[in-house]
Amino acid sequence: MKDAWAGYAWAVAAAFAATLAGFAMRGRFDLVNIAMVYLLAVVLVALHRSRGAAIAASILSVAAFDVLFVPPEGTLTVHDAQYLLTFAIILGVGLIVSRLVERARLQAREQAHLEIEAETERVRSAMLASISHDLRTPLAVMAGDSSTLVEAGERMAPGARQALARSVFDQARDLSERVNKLLQMTRLDTGAITVERDWSSIVDVADSAVRRLSDRLAAHRLIVEIPADLPLVRIDAALIEQALGNLLENAAKHTPPGTIVRLRARADGRLLVVSVEDHGGDATDVDLERMFRKFQHGSMEGTAGGVGLGLAICRAIVRLHGGDCWAERTPGGGMTFRISLPLERQPGIPAERSPATVDGPATDDPGR
């Protein structure tokens, strides 16, 4: 709407500028040349503005040209009929040019739309090809285990029965996590994720991620090192928790049980850096960049590999926050993944009144 009004303003300005030029030319140039200046003004408006603005520019130009330059000046009357043709041409050119421009714009838009569709289609088929395997594997295991229970459960020892039921449960959880990752990646790709930032503590983020993944990390020795005076960060804590969780999950998945996984955070200038360091052995052959690609599996680990989206999701989330995520080799073997997040000026909090008043009534409000 605002754009439309700007278009009409341009129409008026163009007709006005042409009129000024016309006055400057009067006496030295033929009236036909002044008509050409008006025509130029109309064409310029038609090229850059809407059809409505082009028509407005044509009408204004014709009217101004007629009243100010075509004898008898000062009236709309025209003595020489050839100027009627001039008017018609100015109007006609305005209409034709704006029509052409409109068509070109429409085509460009359609083209862009088609290109986006083609790209989406390409990603979708790559995704389907890659995930059909990753989703089918746990489904096949579940179908196998549960059918064994159905058909032979009564003849089995209770322990074996329990183990099969447990396997179905674990596979179902695993499958659900894979589906979550696929959904999350899709949402990140399509921009369907809104980052809702709030002052957050990395201790909270780590606490939540570590507890959520406690089962998977149970076989490893997890060490959490976060300095007590670490500043707060303005982040979407739920999203960063996912990112950090993916790194922890990745470490648990790709390193032998019993090895150390170290979760660390530190302030580094204007960045807060959180790292997950593992000691999974020789990583000299690992391509540090490739593993962040979508559907990238770490190694030949079969079903333990997940859908290969964990690191890609982590990086996408962190970049949405203006930070970055990258991998390094841990000195002495293993991988270290780091997340950096921009630090902002710390928010203030009113100091609480003298700590001597512990027994006082709760009516005071030092929070003001």
Partner: protein
């Protein structure tokens, strides 16, 4: 009269209702079920359940709306079932008055634990005798006294108030907004950084390992949960 506690399950998927029925009845509960949000709101009135379980993804209207409508007239504990992709809806459900949540897919053990907590706290605790036990510390909210390893521990008035607000919803989730409003007042409902700073102070004073808290737990993006001594072990 059936003496068994009644659980109302508002869930549109018949398969999930079936699996809940077999598990809940095996555990000695009576289960009532509603297949839609609209029915759920009505059934919450007619069945007088002891706990309501609401799925967030219902076909007719939002599970959050079910929570909101039930809360208009009832304090019955509400446990929501949410998927990991419904984080925002989960926060809305807590703001609307839900007490707890279980993330789908869940093992029945998880849900039963949440139901037990909900039933335990359905009866408002009587005043007095509220002593919170941590691993090495104890806090008497009534007398406003705290100890760590038996020695007196100093807590500021705000720390006491924050702890009391969490203790009023012991073992359940309390949202950031609720805590900020209760402790600092409605004009500070958006000042989450106050909460981060005071939660850290409390963890430093009360938790054995403030980096791996066992009592004052983070519910990421939603709020905090204070676990009572027995539930944490």
């Amino acid at each position: 009269m059936d003496p068994r506690p009644t659980i109302l399950v508002v869930e549109d998927e018949p398969e999930i209702r079936r699996f809940l029925r077999s598990s809940l009845e095996a555990e000695g509960y009576r289960m009532a079920e509603s297949a839609s949000a609209r029915r759920g709101v009505v059934d919450a009135g007619t069945h007088k359940p002891d706990v309501v379980i609401v799925d967030l993804g219902l076909p007719d209207f939002d599970g959050v709306e079910v929570v909101r409508q039930i809360r208009q007239w009832s304090t019955v504990p509400i446990v929501i079932l949410s998927a990991r992709t419904q984080e925002r809806a989960k926060i809305d459900a807590f703001e609307a008055g839900a007490d707890d949540y279980v993330t789908k897919p869940f093992g029945i053990g998880e849900l039963l634990a949440r139901i037990k907590v909900a039933l335990r706290h359905a009866v408002p605790r009587q005043a007095g005798g509220a002593i919170l036990r941590f691993d090495d510390a104890a806090v008497d909210l009534e007398r406003r006294a705290a100890t760590r390893h038996g020695a007196p521990l100093h807590l500021t008035p705000i720390e006491f108030r924050l702890l009391s607000a969490l203790a009023r919803h012991l073992d359940r989730v309390v949202t950031h907004r609720q805590l900020l409003t209760e402790v600092w007042g409605p004009s500070h409902a958006g000042d989450t950084h106050y909460l981060r700073i005071y939660v850290k102070q409390l963890r430093d004073k009360l938790e054995s390992d403030p980096l791996r808290p066992r009592h004052l737990l983070t519910e990421i993006g939603v709020g905090y949960r204070l676990l009572s001594g027995d539930a944490a072990s």
